[in-house]
Amino acid sequence: MKKVIKHSILALTLISSAVFVSCELDETQEVVTKTNLVWSDEFNIDGAPDPNAWTYDLGDGTAEGIPGWGNNELQIYTDDAENVRVENGMLVITARQTANGFTSARIKTQGLFEKQYGRFEARIRLPQGKGLWPAFWLLGNNCAQNPWPACGEIDIMENVGDEPIKVFGSVHGPNYSGGESISKEYELTNGRFDTEFHVFGIEWSPNRINYYVDDVLYNSITPEEVDEETDGEGIWVFDNTMYMIINVAVGGNLPGAPNANTTFPQRMLVDYVRVYN
């Protein structure tokens, strides 16, 4: 009799702990279900970024028909070593002030690595100061045929340099793009994004995009939410194949221009970029 009771208690304990554990898993699995590393750049070889992984957007956007890259940004993107290079195990994108304005860099995996769904994350230390606008984001690979925002944009991390403890993650699609994008901010309770490294990631599944910073899941965007946010006008366009972009913009509609307190050069350091399936 005693033994039976003991076993029952044990069984109950097991069951309850199992329930408890699976409950925890349910809450966190959106972040960590994809653990099979399929692509990464650890930036371990000094010099220009790996040409098999990265290509460049260059100039001021005029060649693409969007001077100021569509946002009245001030920088000219180059592939010069002084704006983008790998050193000491880091990708370094440097925004500089020149006699003529600003230079910086924007690198992308277009045509080299494109993927539908997955977990995309990078460990980054952001630049500092008013007017700096760093981003780690995804863009649909068919924008030429299916013009933005219909091709879809997932902004994994954006920040404006005069808000050093905040980042935000967004999606842009038809009827919810630009200033109307669906976006959520994440604020550190202790620490800064421009003096420390933090991990920025999404886990993108057929009907869900989860956003996280370090180990904190702070947003989950679904077709239902797009529906709700746009009164049914928005269209879910995130079943596309997309490529990654990492850049530091200077000035433009969102951050405003640099001010007297902004110092140059400003550097964004990327420790790694990893993609999991």
Binding site: Q128, K130, G161, D162, E163, P164, I165, L188, T189, N190, G191, R192, D194, T195, N261, T263
Partner: protein, 490 residues
């Protein structure tokens, strides 16, 4: 059984003793560094761990009004009470400003785990209040201060700690100082009437504490107010590095600059054979060459530097050899000279600098970039019994700089009331020294008093009287810089 029990108890006792002994040893091995309380709070709804005085006013003898300080149970950012400060008006007989410190009632607190002092405040007007910490009216080792501008609504203020690791035993937990509100923004301490538009006001402070914000970052410390200065100087020169502060960026993206005590800084000389600098920023030039003095807080280099170019030991002008009994001296360490010597009793508006320098106990006057300057003294000298005037001059600017020396005689009335051309009885004349000067070298010049024949810039006709000499003037048409020593008549 009994024996067994006994044995068991013995064993247990033995274990207990062993544990106790080993515990004691552990404690005594680890207890090396005494640490102080880490209490962050200074005032929440009541003072936390402060002295019985709570508020320790600045000295009323310097005008501090000790009466306007208290707590207010009708105002609070959080909880039930706040600190209330009634800032006096400018003519308050009890004192025209209010300020003081809050001190830890114990031996001090360990603040090394925090990165800022924070509090909420609001004011009846947008008054400016100096706030800070690190002043304890005892050692005052680590003061930090800045000026905040109040708002009508509760606003949070953050005063960063330049190097928290230094504050392991700090008694000075808070400092504030506020004067009357100046609506016309015309206060000039030299003019009492500019304070007439001022009036007293009230402000409140709440939730005053040290905090580890994690979002405060030191952008750059500052020495010499951030300026890169260069000086040409000699062995024996000393200077204290001041203009010390630091600029931080807060979590809200705003920059804040504070004044910081020298105890937060480390100073360095790039060549300690040329110049040394001690922990307090006292620079001593000890040899020839170049050295740059820099400062830092922690591992962050400060903006601002002092670049020293030392020519080595300064060579003073030669010691004069005339017997003192034959000399009427205006300026010399070798002779009794006139009283009230003033190297710049007047000066042209373009004159850059006039300074008296002393090396090895021997002084000289340094003139930089003059157009004209006048040397004056008490009364006048009668040199009718003398035939010559001597001076030692070292040209600092390049050769080719023009320099004329003038003698001005006040006339029989012994009063500086103008030359003959303006109706006075004064006379004046000049002598051109230019051709005798050599750059970077003392030149002894001896001029017959009969040679001051040139007309002067002030309208003198030349060949002045010699009974009442009151000024010696130097004039340069091209901004000469030079040293002068041993000016005497004989």
């Amino acid at each position: 059984m009994k024996g067994l029990t006994y044995l068991k108890n013995t064993l247990l006792t033995g274990v207990a003793i062993a544990l106790t002994v080993s515990c004691e040893r552990d404690i005594s091995d680890d207890a090396v560094v005494a640490t102080f309380p880490v209490t962050p709070d200074i005032f929440t709804d009541a003072p936390v761990g402060l002295t019985d005085e709570f508020f320790d006013s600045f000295d009323p003898a310097i005008g501090a009004n000790p009466n306007g300080f208290g707590t207010d149970e009708n105002e609070a950012y959080e909880g039930s009470a706040s600190i209330r400060v009634d800032v006096p008006g400018p003519n308050d007989p009890e004192g025209g400003f209010i300020g003081g410190i809050f001190r830890d009632r114990g031996e001090g607190r360990d603040l090394s785990g925090y990165d800022a002092l924070t509090f909420w405040a609001k004011g009846t007007v947008t008054g400016r209040v100096t706030v800070g910490f690190g002043t304890d009216f005892d050692t005052d080792t680590f003061p930090v201060s800045t000026v905040i501008t109040l708002s009508a609504g509760w606003t949070k203020y953050t005063i960063p700690i330049p190097d928290p690791s230094r504050l392991t035993q700090e008694r000075g937990l808070f400092l504030f100082s506020a004067g009357s509100f100046d609506p016309l923004v015309n206060d000039n301490p030299a003019l009492a009437e500019t304070f007439n538009d001022n009036f007293g006001y009230t402000f409140w402070i709440d939730e005053l504490r040290f905090e580890n914000t994690g979002s405060t970052t030191l952008l750059a410390p500052t020495i010499l107010n951030g300026q890169d200065l260069a000086i040409d100087i000699f062995t024996g020169f000393t200077q204290t590095i001041d203009g010390l502060g630091a600029t931080f960026n807060l979590g809200n993206g705003q920059n804040i600059s504070v004044n910081a005590a020298r105890s937060y800084f480390e100073f360095a000389s790039s060549d300690s054979n040329v110049a040394t600098v001690d922990a307090f920023g006292n620079v001593s030039v000890i040899g020839a060459g170049q050295a740059t003095i820099t400062g830092s807080i922690g591992d962050q280099q400060a903006n601002g530097s002092l670049q020293i170019t030392s020519a080595g030991g300064f060579v003073n002008a030669p010691i004069p050899t005339q017997p003192a009994s034959d000399v009427i001296s205006i300026y010399s360490d070798s002779y009794p000279s006139v009283t009230g010597f003033n190297p710049g009793v007047f000066a042209g508006s373009n004159t850059q600098n006039i300074a008296v320098q002393t090396f090895d106990g021997n002084s000289h006057v340094q003139y930089e970039g003059i157009d004209f300057i006048g040397i004056g003294w008490d009364g006048t000298v009668n040199v009718t019994g003398e035939t010559m005037v001597h001076l030692d001059v070292q040209l600092l600017s390049g050769s080719g700089n023009a320099l004329v020396m003038e003698l001005i005689d006040f006339g029989p009335d012994d009063t500086d009331n103008g030359l003959g051309n303006t109706g006075g009885d004064g006379t004046a004349g000049g002598f051109n020294l230019s051709s005798q000067l050599v750059a970077d070298q003392w030149v002894g010049i001896d001029i017959p008093l009969s040679s001051f024949t040139l007309p002067t810039g002030g309208g003198g006709a030349g060949s002045p009287n010699l009974s009442n000499i009151g000024f010696i003037v130097f004039v340069s048409s091209n901004g000469a810089s030079f040293l002068v020593d041993n000016i005497y008549f004989y």
